[in-house]
């Protein structure tokens, strides 16, 4: 019993932390630039395909792919910001439409290039680790540690580096920030690119434990939105509790009921939570 419970909890934790990465990217783009990025799911998909392609087509190691995925997706993000998003600031609903158009196009490009069938990314860390109470797959343990490390690094970056502090300043008041010599346009481009890169990294990291197909992004897109909204957009750290609830509860419920039903219940729950507490579940004291 304890064995099952621990396994279940670890599964939920790894899913939640992976979602946190993806949702953090979304929150950066939304919080910094007020852009609702519906291409986020497609960014994740591209990241997953990079990590599939690097071993399968180029014969290089998975780890090279894990490094390349955020770089490639980040570059795609920078280009999209430069040629599309830049012209749509202050047109919130139009960014929703444009990023959706980009998403359709990216997903179709993936289909054209690699077909619609699902790909499997071979597990780079086979085997399991005996944790005493339970035996748990090595890669999933790696995933937990990896996501935690990235999250800590990102938050430390915002807390401690000058660039991080400046980025937070741009979020809070872009006009006041430009009076401090900060180039809003460039900051926005970096933010969009790094938000995209996080989605790409998330997609690459989960690729070995999920099926990689062109439409895999949709669920993650919605789940990350819910994580962001549930946590609240006042603080980036809020994506962590948001993701824990969204991905964690879906994961635990799947043990008892069908995945589709579990997901539906969580979606409905989040919508109700949004109605009751639109500012998010995180208290204002967390805002940074």
């Amino acid at each position: 019993m304890a064995e099952i419970a621990i396994t279940l909890l670890l599964n939920a934790l790894s899913a939640a932390l992976a979602l946190s990465l993806v949702a953090l990217g979304l929150a950066i783009i939304f919080g910094f630039m007020g852009v609702i990025n519906l291409a986020h799911g497609a960014f994740l998909t591209v990241g997953a395909y990079v990590v599939w392609m690097v071993p399968a087509k180029l014969g290089l190691s998975f780890w090279v792919g894990l490094v390349l995925a955020p770089i490639i997706v980040g570059l795609i993000g920078a280009l999209i910001e430069r040629f599309v998003i830049r012209y749509l600031y202050d047109r919130l609903l139009d960014t929703i439409l444009a990023t959706w158009g980009i998403s359709l196009a990216l997903v179709e490009l993936v289909k054209l290039a690699f077909g619609t069938t699902s790909k499997s990314v071979s597990n780079p860390l086979r085997g399991s680790v005996d944790l005493g109470v339970t035996v748990y797959p090595t890669y999933r343990l790696f995933l937990i540690g990896f996501c935690l490390a990235i999250l800590v690094a990102v938050f430390a970056f915002f807390k401690s580096t000058d660039i991080g502090v400046r980025l937070r300043a741009v979020i809070q008041d872009p006009d006041a920030a430009s009076l401090q010599g900060l180039n809003k346009t460039r900051m926005y481009q970096y933010s969009f690119a790094s938000g995209a890169a996080l989605a790409g990294l998330g997609g690459a990291a989960i690729a070995p434990i999920t099926t990689v197909d062109p439409t895999m992004g949709v669920t993650y897109l919605l789940e990350s939105f819910f994580a962001v909204i549930l946590g609240g957009t006042g603080a980036l750290i809020a994506v962590v509790p948001g993701s824990l609830i969204v991905a964690g509860s879906t994961n635990v419920m799947t043990f008892i009921i069908s995945p589709v039903l579990a997901q539906t219940i969580v979606f409905v729950f989040v919508i109700v939570a949004m109605i009751i507490r639109p500012q998010g579940i995180v208290p204002e004291a967390w805002h940074e």
């Binding site: 502090v165 300043a169 809070q172 006009d175 006041a176 009076l179 900060l182």
Partner: protein, 235 residues
Amino acid sequence: MVLLELSDVHAGYGGGNVINGVSLTIEEGTVVSLLGRNGVGKTTTLRSIVGVISPDRGTVSFDSLDISGFEPHETYKQGISLVPEDRGIFPDLTVSENLRVPLVDTDDERSIAEIYGYFPKLEELQDSKGRNLSGGEQQMLAIGRALRQNPRLLLLDEPSEGLAPQIIEDVGRAIETIAEEGMTILVVEQNTKFALDISSHAYIMADGQIVMDGSTNELRDDEERLEKYLGVHET
């Protein structure tokens, strides 16, 4: 040497012009004030200097460089710092984080420790969030932050606004200290007494134009005209 020169600047927001042909010059190393009642175009003048809005007509030149049409971050790089009327404090950043925001050139910056030297109160408050500061503390932080890049020209928009008399005195002393070190300052004020005390030359605006200017000593004696443009007595 003339550091800043506005010639015949027209600017406004969406159609209507707020200022119509403002011309003024500021000599390096002086403190100049720009006075006038609410809504005569003082803030708009400052905004068109730093590039928050770009002039529809006329030129702004800084150290002989035409900077009309520059973006705020570009005029900042030229060495112009504006402390806006609303102070522009980042509410969820701490005092020390607020001081880390400005882009500084390492050769020429003033360290955060130096800023604390001007405003010891800020050091005590360094871990408080911007939103929790009082008006006076916010004003000190805003001025301190603007000093970080050691600007060649400091623009202050109503530094005394909404502050209690005791605090106004503190802010005034700080401005005088900075001025004594040789910084060029343009201060926009409604509080005439305050402004005349800290500056050596003043311009007075009405209806989007400069209507008179002179040394502050001359102006102090011209009570009749001061009343006309600045006072609340019926004319």
